[in-house]
């Protein structure tokens, strides 16, 4: 096994799990002087089956909603003890624990200005509990609580723009990333940690089980999301919207979004519905336009 990895082998994530790749990349970029506060979610369940742990850094598992609150407490406690220097504090949650359940705690952490990096790994549904939709589930996706059928096309609302909601708090750093473009992600982690004050990174992590995709395609799909403009990679620094920039431009011309959708079982029911495919392409085009992408 790879002894250098700060996230050890023997964790019980599904074969081909994108989120575990994100954790490995995150820890490699942050280094070992890092404290992780993580909410309940896939990555907690697979990494901390008592009495074992996959983590090689100080780690605390907290309830579903409060990684940001606990990380704030760690920040305040270390400051009070005069021991804050030289340590990274990372709060970690999935989309369920961040978009939905932990949003209030996250907002509080940002508003109070804690020196914490919050990382949300986004696999677009509650996966380990059985693939229920979250507010990160995209339009048209099939989940167990948004099943397609005669009167349903699957999830019928678009994804909540969480990173933009975070940006409205004017944090020291906010960015979106994809596990597929891992250098971009790791650069963003280092940048976020180099800044004082709150920072946030949303990292897109395909889930072979929930998305019904072949396990070997995880990185390919994560890249395709960016190359089709479905996922826009951007960053904003120092709470200043003038610094907002797209960090990874899709190729010109952009790949059609159908290329991204058709390899995923969760969108299979849309393949014989050209009007829905057109609608999703238009949603993507409109988002790209907002970010100055052709």
């Amino acid at each position: 096994m790879n002894e250098e990895s700060l996230f050890a082998s023997g964790h019980t994530a599904c074969a081909g799990c994108g989120a575990t790749i994100a954790l490995r990349l995150l820890l490699a970029a942050a280094g070992k002087n890092t404290i992780v506060c993580q909410v309940t979610g896939c990555m907690e369940v697979v990494s901390t089956g008592y009495p074992n742990t996959a983590w090689k850094v100080p780690y605390i598992h907290v309830a579903f909603e409060n990684a940001a609150a606990v990380a704030s407490g760690v920040d305040a406690a270390l400051k009070a003890k005069g021991e804050r220097e030289g340590k990274n504090i990372i709060a970690l949650g999935g989309d369920g624990g961040t978009y939905d359940i932990g949003l209030q705690a996250l907002s509080g952490m940002l508003e109070r200005g804690h020196d914490v990096l919050y990382v949300c790994y986004d696999n677009e549904a509650y996966m380990n509990t059985g693939i229920q939709r979250s507010s990160a589930t995209p339009y048209g996706a099939s989940t167990t609580t948004s099943p397609p059928g005669k009167f349903s096309i699957g999830e019928d609302t678009p994804k909540k723009p969480l990173a933009e909601i975070v940006a409205a708090h004017r944090p020291s750093y906010v960015a979106t990333a994809s596990v597929g473009y891992y250098q971009d992600f790791q650069t963003k982690v280092k940048k976020a940690l180099s800044k004082k004050g709150p920072s946030f990174i949303l990292v897109y992590t395909p889930c072979p089980t929930g998305w019904r995709t072949p396990s070997e395609k995880t990185m390919e799909i994560a890249k395709l999301a960016v190359d089709t403009g479905y996922l826009i990679l951007w960053e904003m620094e120092n709470g200043d919207r003038n610094t907002l920039k797209v960090t990874k431009m899709p190729p010109k011309p952009r790949k059609p979004v159908e290329e991204y959708l058709k390899i995923q079982g969760r969108f299979r029911h849309l393949m014989n519905k050209p009007e829905e495919l057109k609608k999703i392409q238009e949603l993507v085009d409109a988002e790209c336009k907002r970010y100055g992408i052709e």
Binding site: M1, N2, E3, E4, S5, F7, A8, S9, G10, H11, T12, A13, A15, G16, C17, G18, T20, I21, R24, L25, S47, T48, G49, Y50, P51, N52, T53, A54, W55, K56, V57, Y182, P208, P214, S215, E216, K217, T218, M219, E220
Partner: protein
């Protein structure tokens, strides 16, 4: 089993006790003649099972833990890794 106070775990990375290699249906086999030692497979493996001590040795896959997902083979730019049916 004696439960520790606060269910704390004091041994870092002790998940290595779980030998997840038994999950595997397909086995990644690396052709070291084709491999250019770029290290991409080491970065992308979700299970941290590939390591490279020296360039001569090249990347080494630990089959005690490899789940056979096939990401390494899919991402290798030089098509040096082949997924073969596992035999037990």
């Amino acid at each position: 089993m004696k439960i520790t106070i606060g269910a704390t775990v004091t041994e870092a990375g002790s998940s290595v006790r779980n030998k997840t290699g038994g999950w595997r249906n397909m086995r990644p086999v690396t052709d070291l003649a084709k491999c250019k030692r770029c290290g991409i497979c080491i970065i992308v493996c979700p299970d941290a099972v590939i390591s490279m001590k020296t360039r001569e040795e090249g990347p080494k896959t630990d089959y005690d833990y490899c789940k056979g997902c096939g990401i390494c083979a899919n991402e290798c730019p030089f098509k040096a890794i082949e997924m073969q049916q596992e035999e037990r």
